[in-house]
C-alpha cells in the first residue's frame, strides 16, 4: 500500500455538528422568513455532495409559517416570534434543533438556535478505529491491474435493469 505520511489533517471536518446545525439554521430561517421560496428544494443535495449542507426537507417540521402569499418574498408577516422544531439527518445521525426567529417589520431582529445533537462519538474517538485516510484515490484501469474479479456495488438483475430502462424511456417520451 502506498501510504505517504504528511502532516495530519482533520479527519472529517465536514461532519462537525456545529457546521451542520448552522447550515440547517440558515435554511430554517429562510423557510420562516419566506424570502427563499425554493429553500426546500435547495436543501436536497445532489448525489456526490458533501454532507454538511444536508438537511432533509421531508424531516423538517411542518410548523414553518410560510404562507400562501409569501412566494413573492414581498413580506407581510406579522411581527412576533416564530419557532420551528425540526429534525434533520446527517448521514450518520438524526439531529434535532429548534430555531426561533423574531420578526419586526419583516426584518429578522433575533435568531436563536438550540440544538440537541445526538451524535455519540467524537472525531477523536472515531479515529481510534480508522487506520488511515487519503484525500484522493487514484483509480487505475481495471484492465491494467490483473485482477481475477471485481467487487463493488452488487450487479443488478434483469428485473431492476428492466425497471430502469422503463423509467428512462418514459422520461424520454
Amino acid at each position: 500500500m502506498i501510504r505517504t505520511a504528511l502532516a495530519p489533517r482533520p479527519t472529517r471536518p465536514r461532519r462537525l455538528i456545529g457546521t451542520g446545525a448552522a447550515v440547517t439554521a440558515a435554511a430554517g430561517i429562510a423557510l420562516l422568513a419566506g424570502c427563499a421560496p425554493t429553500a426546500s428544494e435547495a436543501e436536497e443535495p445532489s448525489t456526490g455532495s458533501t454532507s454538511s449542507s444536508e438537511s432533509s426537507s421531508d424531516d423538517t417540521s411542518s410548523e414553518d409559517t410560510s404562507s400562501g402569499g409569501g412566494s413573492t418574498g414581498a413580506g407581510g408577516y406579522a411581527d412576533g416570534t416564530y419557532t420551528a422544531e425540526g429534525t434533520y439527518a446527517t448521514p450518520e445521525s438524526v439531529e434535532t434543533i429548534s430555531v426561533t426567529v423574531t420578526l419586526q417589520d419583516d426584518v429578522i431582529t433575533d435568531v436563536e438556535v438550540t440544538g440537541n445533537p445526538q451524535k455519540r462519538e467524537s472525531e477523536e474517538y472515531q479515529g481510534k478505529f480508522i487506520g488511515g485516510i487519503a484525500a484522493v484515490v487514484v483509480g487505475q484501469d481495471i484492465d491494467d491491474i490483473q485482477v481475477s474479479r471485481v467487487a463493488g456495488s452488487s450487479l443488478t438483475s434483469g428485473g431492476f435493469n428492466d425497471a430502469i430502462e422503463t423509467i428512462k424511456s418514459e422520461a424520454a417520451a
Binding site: A89, G132, I133, Q140, V150, A151, I164, I167
Partner: protein
C-alpha cells in the same frame, strides 16, 4: 496459473452469481446449491409474494423461524447498536416508499423512517419468528453474505481445490488467493485498489448501481439510513474482508455510518471505504493495496 477453471453462472436473489471451481460441478451439486438459494429466497425475499417475510408483511404474525433467522437478526441487533439505529431489519417499508419495491416501481413516494422499536415488534426465540403488526423485513444489510456462506459450504464439500463464490460482488474464496479489484463507485471501468483474498470473504457495497431518480430529480439508491428513510450521502462504497461472508456483508453495511469502524474493530474485520467526495479510509493494518494519492495519512 492453473488450467481454465469451470464457471457456473446463474441469477438469484436479484443479482448475478458465479461459482468457479477447478472442475465442472456435477448436476447434483448444482441442484443442492439451487435448493439452498431457493430456500433462502422463499424465506427472506420481500420481492416474492409467497415468501415468509411477505406473509408477515401485511399484519404480522408468528411462524416457524426460518433457519437463518437467529443468526441474521442477532447480527442486526449488533448492527443497530453499532450504528445508533441506522441499520434496521424492518427497513423494507422505507425501501418500498422510495420505490425499491417488489415490482421495482422506482416510484418515489417519499422518505419513511423504519420503526425504531423493531426489537419489540420482531422477536425470534423458541423456534418462532414473530412480528407484531405490519412490517416489511428486509435483510439486505447482510442477507446476501449470509447466503454466500452455505453456498460455499455445499460447493467446497463437493469440489476439492480452489473455489470462488461470487454473488455479484460479494465473494467468498477457498484456496488460492484471488486478486480482487475494488471497483471505483463513480467509474466502473476503474479500481481504487486491489485486495488479495484467500480463505476468506470480501463483501462490497456501493450506491452506484441500484440507483434511480427521486420525485424531484435527485438520485435515490438502496442504502438507507433507517432512522430517516433517506439514502445515505456520506459514503459511496465500502469493502470488508472477514472469515465469513455474513460478517463481511454486515460490516460493509455498517461502514456507511460512523459506528462501522468500531464494529469492524470489535469483529476483527479489515475494511476500506470511500466517501462521496472521493476520499478513502481504511482500517488499521488493512492489507488492501490502494492506489492512493501522495497526501494520505497513516495513523
Amino acid at each position: 496459473m492453473a488450467a481454465a477453471a469451470a464457471s457456473w453462472r446463474f441469477e438469484a436473489i436479484g443479482t448475478a452469481w458465479e461459482v468457479v471451481t477447478d472442475e465442472p460441478l456435477p448436476a447434483a451439486v448444482r441442484d443442492a446449491v439451487n435448493a439452498v438459494v431457493d430456500g433462502f429466497d422463499r424465506d427472506w425475499s420481500r420481492f416474492r409474494p409467497d415468501s415468509v417475510v411477505s406473509a408477515l408483511a401485511d399484519a404480522g404474525g408468528a411462524v416457524a423461524a426460518p433457519a437463518d433467522a437467529a443468526a441474521m437478526l442477532e447480527a442486526f441487533a449488533s448492527l443497530e447498536a453499532a450504528t445508533g439505529g441506522a441499520v434496521n431489519p424492518l427497513v423494507g417499508a422505507s425501501l418500498d416508499s422510495l420505490g425499491y419495491d417488489a415490482s421495482y416501481s422506482l416510484h418515489d413516494r417519499g422518505a419513511r423512517p423504519a420503526p425504531a422499536d423493531w426489537r419489540e415488534r420482531l422477536t425470534w426465540h423458541d423456534g418462532r419468528l414473530s412480528l407484531s403488526g405490519p412490517g416489511t423485513i428486509d435483510v439486505g444489510a447482510l442477507g446476501k453474505g449470509r447466503l454466500v456462506d452455505p453456498v460455499l459450504e455445499v460447493v467446497a464439500a463437493a469440489s476439492p481445490g480452489d473455489v470462488v463464490i461470487d454473488a455479484g460482488g460479494d465473494l467468498a474464496v477457498r484456496g488460492r488467493p484471488q486478486r480482487i479489484g475494488l471497483e471505483h463507485p463513480f467509474d466502473t471501468r476503474r479500481a481504487i485498489g486491489v485486495w488479495e483474498v484467500g480463505d476468506a470473504a470480501l463483501c462490497a457495497s456501493a450506491v452506484n448501481r441500484r440507483s434511480w431518480p427521486s420525485a424531484t430529480g435527485t438520485t435515490l439508491h438502496h442504502v438507507l439510513d433507517a432512522r430517516t428513510g433517506q439514502p445515505v450521502r456520506a459514503y459511496a462504497a465500502t469493502w470488508a474482508v472477514a472469515a465469513d461472508a455474513m460478517t463481511a456483508d454486515a460490516v460493509a453495511t455498517a461502514l456507511f455510518f460512523d459506528g462501522g469502524p468500531r464494529l469492524a474493530h470489535e469483529w476483527g474485520v479489515e475494511w476500506v471505504r470511500m466517501t462521496t467526495d472521493g476520499s478513502v479510509e481504511w482500517s488499521a493494518g488493512c492489507r488492501a493495496d490502494l492506489f492512493l494519492g501522495a497526501d494520505s495519512v497513516e495513523r
